[in-house]
Amino acid sequence: MSGAKGPVGVVLVSHSAAVAAAVADLARGLAGGGATAPVAPAGGLPDGGFGTSEELIVAAAGSVDRGSGVAVLADLGSAVLTVKALLAEGELPSGARLLDAPFVEGAVAAVVTASAGADLAAVEAAASEAYDYRKV
């Protein structure tokens, strides 16, 4: 590979626009110290209501695709189902993948790892590992 490709992109799909945007900010903030990987929130419906928007997810994935793959995190039922349906229909950039990870912790791990220049498999592993951290 030429190494001309950019970092892995991260898409955060939440039922709430505010949640998606805030988690994106948090993840960027904690990954700070240099250039961060591209992160795009896809929260709520286009009219601002709670829900999942195919349109917003597809646009967000396109906006963070630098040719190295796109890591997608989703919060609740319909967000997860919509991403899976889009992947099954081939409507997300090639190399897009839904990560099996907790939303906030996984997003931070994914953005930190992607910002360090890791490939999609490493980003996925880092985000999934967030499940191993028990709180009680």
């Binding site: 419906l45 209501g49 829900g51 999942t52 928007s53 195919e54 349109e55 609740l76 039922g77 319909s78 189902l81 919509t82 899976k84 349906a85 889009l86 099954a88 229909e89």
Partner: protein, 198 residues
């Protein structure tokens, strides 16, 4: 034989049924869900109906694929990707044929239902739309009316079940005693086949 116009009538009749039953779907969903099933499905099927008013694809498969796409992009809740996948996969399974038999539709719908089960990780008895759709597919080989009755019976049979998928599953035992909204709307979809055939 069933052609593209039949599938359009099916979708339009579903939109009408969802519009008529919106309040009931939402009432059922307010008991064990987040009270948006009626409004979400009405928004989705209204968009399907409006799209089919403007353009009718040439084949039965293409009509269902178009309807499925509309649902995924407009519903906004879990029923969007679930119903969208159901119709798209059914449409895909019908292929490019200009006309299909009821038996072929039954087989294609079976493929669509299987895709829904895979997407949601649900099986029969989980108190989901599958509890109406699986018996409907089985009965569709006999007649549209048999499929509609089987779907209706399947929806009623969700009442004593405990939800294992979706938001209702958070309620555990408290989901028992309520009819599943998804199985109820699935019965509307199957019931609309009878109207389309009339």
């Amino acid at each position: 034989m069933l052609d593209a116009a039949f599938m359009s009538r099916w979708m339009t009749a579903t939109a009408a049924a969802v519009g008529r039953e919106e309040t009931r779907l939402t009432d059922l969903d307010s008991a064990i869900g987040d009270a948006d099933h009626g409004a979400n499905l009405r928004r989705g099927f209204t968009a399907v109906s409006a799209t089919l008013d403007k353009e009718t694809p040439d084949t039965p498969g293409a009509v269902l694929a178009l309807a499925g796409r509309q649902l995924i992009s407009t519903v906004g809740g879990a029923s969007g990707p679930l119903y969208g996948t159901l119709l798209r996969r059914t449409g895909k399974a019908l292929g490019d044929a200009a006309e299909v038999t009821r038996e072929q539709l039954a087989e294609a719908l079976g493929a669509g239902v299987a895709a829904v089960g895979q997407l949601g990780g649900a099986a029969a008895g989980d108190k989901t739309m599958l509890d109406a759709l699986l018996p409907a597919v089985e009965a569709l080989g006999r007649s549209f009316a048999a499929a509609a009755e089987a779907a209706e019976a399947g929806a009623l049979a969700t009442v004593p079940l405990r939800a294992r998928k979706g938001r209702a599953s958070y309620l555990g035992e408290r989901s028992v005693g309520h009819q599943d909204p998804g199985a109820t709307s699935a019965a509307l979809l199957v019931g609309a086949l009878v109207e389309a055939a009339a």
